[in-house]
Amino acid sequence: MCLAIPGKIEEFVDRDRHFARADISGVKRQINVDLIKEQGLQEGDWVLIHVGFAMGKISEEQALEQLEALAILGEAAQSRAEAEGYMFEVESE
């Protein structure tokens, strides 16, 4: 369930900051931000949007961490395999 898409907060549209205009790759839609006000919302923040409501702020830090963790996948295994290969060569000499 739940199609939710990341969008950037462009600006708040009412004085009490219940609503903001979000930009999703050039598509603009007014969204309600009541659910995440407590997380402290600012223009320029990225949020997850579902049926016209912001469901949560997106953490750039966590996103990068996750991608980095995936990027080094297999590297530990690779170095080990290389080392083993070397050992084999040494042993067979």
Partner: protein
């Protein structure tokens, strides 16, 4: 697209898939992805093809359209027939078949049924048309319920008298339990609904790990998210752990969203039980509006109409419902059967002429299977 493209990086996808393959080795695991959105993503990105044979993916009942009984669709349409009613529905609902047709078909026949992207749009229609009674057909799990709740609160604040909601919100833990309680089911772990978790918190799945000793990885919806979740799941399964882990931590936190919790508690209360298509009646699995908001409850506003509709429906034994109720949707919903194993699949039941909602909803496993894998379960 930021926060989307990075998680569709082909190199990282290949790497993660390789890692899963080497970790699974000769083991065999049955993993359920609960959420229809995950089912859709798995098929759309062909992720199953990247997984080793040792992982069998089972599609779970997390599709709010798929589990909606036809009777509820009919009740919504019955309300739409009342004078001056504008029935507003999400796009997903438009093709779901009731016994007498889908909302789209009824719209073509003249009922005022309009598609909306957000309950706020339904509210807007109500504000703009004081002479109409706008009814919003609310569906969805915990992800979508707060949107409905906030809309109802706004309606109350605005003092609207022509807006009501036909509530069909359901919750995700009871069907997970129902699936696990089924003696025919063997599931080793879960890819957990990540967007529901933005409301209930990753910790919301603790009781599954605790009571059933099955790991749950709270997962995002991009290919890398799902693959990373499977990797995390396999790691736990190989070492015999059963914890909840949060893969989707760029959005999801451990605790529930406090505003959502507050708003849900005020506007909704649990129904004693609710009929789930294919799963039967499940206790404490759905919500209705509280007494405070009865003026916005379509089931209260149209109580007489619904009572008459229900007595006509239940009293008329001649209504040929056997075939539809016998459709193996329930077995597919629970993951006991694969879509192509259903006798109706691709024959009487196709996306064009769906017998059950799993074929209508684009995240229903049957529709996903039919559209992306084809009628003959073969690719390439």
């Amino acid at each position: 697209m930021k926060y989307v493209d990075e998680f569709r990086n082909p190199e990282l996808i290949k790497k993660t898939a390789e890692e899963i393959k080497s970790l699974v080795g000769d083991s065999r695991f049955r993993v359920m992805e609960v959420c229809g959105g995950h089912t859709h993503a798995i098929y759309r990105f062909g992720l199953e093809q990247l997984l080793p044979d040792g992982i069998e993916l089972i599609h779970g009942p997390g599709c709010p359209v798929c589990i909606l009984p036809m009777d509820r669709v009919d009740e919504g349409l019955a309300i739409a027939r009342a004078p001056d009613v504008v029935l507003t529905v999400y796009g997903d609902m438009m093709r779901v078949p009731g016994y007498e047709g889908s909302p789209l078909e009824m719209k073509a026949k003249g009922l005022d049924i309009r598609m909306v992207y957000s309950p706020l749009d339904a509210l807007k229609i109500a504000g703009a048309h004081p002479d109409k009674s706008v009814v919003f057909f609310a569906i969805g799990f915990e992800t979508t319920a707060p949107a409905t709740a906030l809309t109802v609160l706004q309606a109350k604040e605005m003092g609207l008298t022509n807006f009501s909601v036909f509530v069909n919100h359901v919750t995700v833990i009871p069907p997970m339990r129902a699936v696990l309680d089924d003696p025919d089911m063997k599931i080793d772990g879960f890819v957990g609904p990540g967007h529901v978790a933005t409301v209930i918190g990753a910790g919301g799945y603790e009781e599954i790990a605790r009571d059933y000793k099955k790991p749950v990885i709270v997962s995002g919806f991009e290919p890398l998210d799902i693959l990373q979740s499977l990797l995390m799941l396999v790691k736990q399964l190989k070492t015999g752990e059963a914890r909840v882990e949060n893969q989707y931590d760029r959005v999801v936190s451990w605790d529930a969203n406090p505003t959502a919790r507050e708003v849900l508690a005020r506007v909704f209360e649990l129904r004693e039980d609710f009929e789930w298509r294919g799963l039967g009646s499940i206790a404490a699995s759905a919500v209705k509006l509280t007494e405070e908001f009865k003026d916005f409850d379509a089931e209260v506003k149209y109580a007489t109409l619904l009572a008459r509709h229900r007595s006509e429906r239940d009293g008329d034994g001649s209504l040929n419902r056997e075939r539809h109720d016998d459709a193996p949707c329930g077995k597919v919903l629970k993951g006991l059967m694969k879509p192509h194993q259903c006798a109706l699949f691709g024959r009487e039941c196709t996306p064009e002429r769906p017998v059950g909602a799993l074929m209508v909803s684009s995240e229903g496993s049957c529709a996903a299977y039919f559209n992306y894998v084809g009628e003959k379960n073969k690719i390439g």
